[in-house]
Subunit: 271 residues, 2 copies
């Protein structure tokens, strides 16, 4: 099911600034038993994106009402809701029209089958050739300018990898093409700082909160590929996988680690 | 008039990857007396963009036929044709679908009135706070990830500026939000190298060719804001303005220069 500005629709206006400039933000949320997981945190990131792009954040009641309608249309569990918000229709030219009003697109998608396989067998990673540009004004938020992710994901085509690790143009490790990265060395957890580039994942923040509540240190900073390669264990996080262990990164391999299954279960149990 | 894949339409599929990821390229062309100015050069850049994004370049005959149809619908002269090409509809996820086919959107727009004013009174520039990220894989081409231009153009809102000058995150001068920049110092012309970021403008390449054919040296390299501020004259280029003199950049001012009017006339006369 798809709702465009609250109406069932399969198309959007050809002049939408989401199409012309990627002028908008989105969220991908998992629904389990009619409950949107981590809705508050998704909407907080959306709000941050709206503030950064000077976009009007839709009213929470309106959004919840529309999410309720698409949830009721769906009998699967789990399934995905993708919510996309653009600056709406506009003329030719980058300047923001004075009278612009946003476009909301809410669509449902099946839960990806391969997630089960990632939980069972872990992830095979490679290092992407496509770097992430350093762009602090656009870092952290989930905006619609995603060509770097399209090109880096294309590098896996026909190759035996499940995810690609992206470095910044300064060669710092940042994130996966569709996930955030963590690793553990001598009992300390590490994850890259995302001030310069990358998306602040909802599950990334939940994992940091969970580890800190267990008095486990999580260090956030600038790290190189060699730091990841020296790790005792590595895992990726996103809304569909929650936590998935990395079994290999190029030639480096790790052994299966039961503690990461425990961590995933703890994240799954967060209310 | 708007043609979507050759059919008159006002909307595109809500799952189009142009909307979801900015996964595509575009061209903005001026039509004078039913003739698309610099069509070959626009299509060359489009082809380069398609190669970089691994997109199928549409057949030239098909495109010319569709351009002909929109031209025949328009009695104004000059007017604008915007051509937008995306990777078409796709599922959720960044990876390029194996069966993707492109979406072509051809639309007509009025020629902007303010161009006449730019020719008469010149351009008032400011330096944008929003930088251009360094991203060689996406530099040069006119792709649909244009949030940097949206945010930098928003800086002019309510302020007495006609265009913004954008620097890279390395603080090199790159281009305007909607134009390329040239300047002249002691008889030598300068324009920024666009290997790291920026769009290779069609008129930029025509101006370089024209100056070189007149045995005038054009230096391309990495330059700082102070190089522009020390220039004897400065001008911006794009498909609608061709050549427009910069009269001021923040507090710095320049006197009107008749030679730049001559240069614009020469560019306008290129067959």
């Amino acid at each position: 099911m798809v709702l465009v500005n609250g109406q069932p629709a399969q198309s959007i206006d050809v002049s939408d600034r989401g199409l012309h400039y990627g002028d908008g933000v989105f969220e991908t949320m998992v629904v389990i038993d009619q409950h949107i997981r981590f809705l508050d945190t998704h909407l907080e990131r959306l709000k941050k994106g709206c503030e950064r792009l000077v976009l009007s954040m839709p009213d929470r009641d309106l959004l919840e009402n529309e999410f309720e309608r698409v949830k009721n249309s769906q009998s699967d569990t789990p399934f995905i809701i993708k919510f996309l918000l653009t600056r709406g229709s506009g003329g030719r030219g980058y300047a923001i029209p004075a009278d612009s009003s946003t476009t909301r697109v809410i669509s449902t998608h099946s839960f990806p089958d391969k997630v089960m396989q990632f939980w069972e067998s872990g992830l095979r990673l490679h290092v992407c050739k496509q770097p992430l540009a350093i762009n602090p004004g656009l870092a952290g938020i989930k905006h619609l300018n995603r060509l770097e992710q399209v090109l880096s994901s294309a590098e896996r085509s026909g190759r035996p990898y499940d995810e690609g690790l992206m470095l910044s143009t300064a060669e710092n490790v940042i994130e996966g093409t569709m996930s955030n990265i963590f690793w553990v060395k001598d009992g300390t957890y590490f994850t890259p700082d995302l001030t310069d580039c990358g998306i602040e994942g909802v599950i990334r923040s939940k994992v940091i909160d969970l580890l800190e509540s267990m008095n486990t240190e999580v260090k956030t900073g600038n790290y190189l590929l060699e730091d990841v390669l020296k790790a005792d264990k590595v895992f990726m996080t996103n809304s569909t996988m929650l936590v998935a262990q990395v079994m290999s990164l190029n030639d480096k391999q790790w052994l299966p680690d039961g503690e990461l299954d425990q961590l995933r279960k703890r994240v799954a149990e967060i209310k």
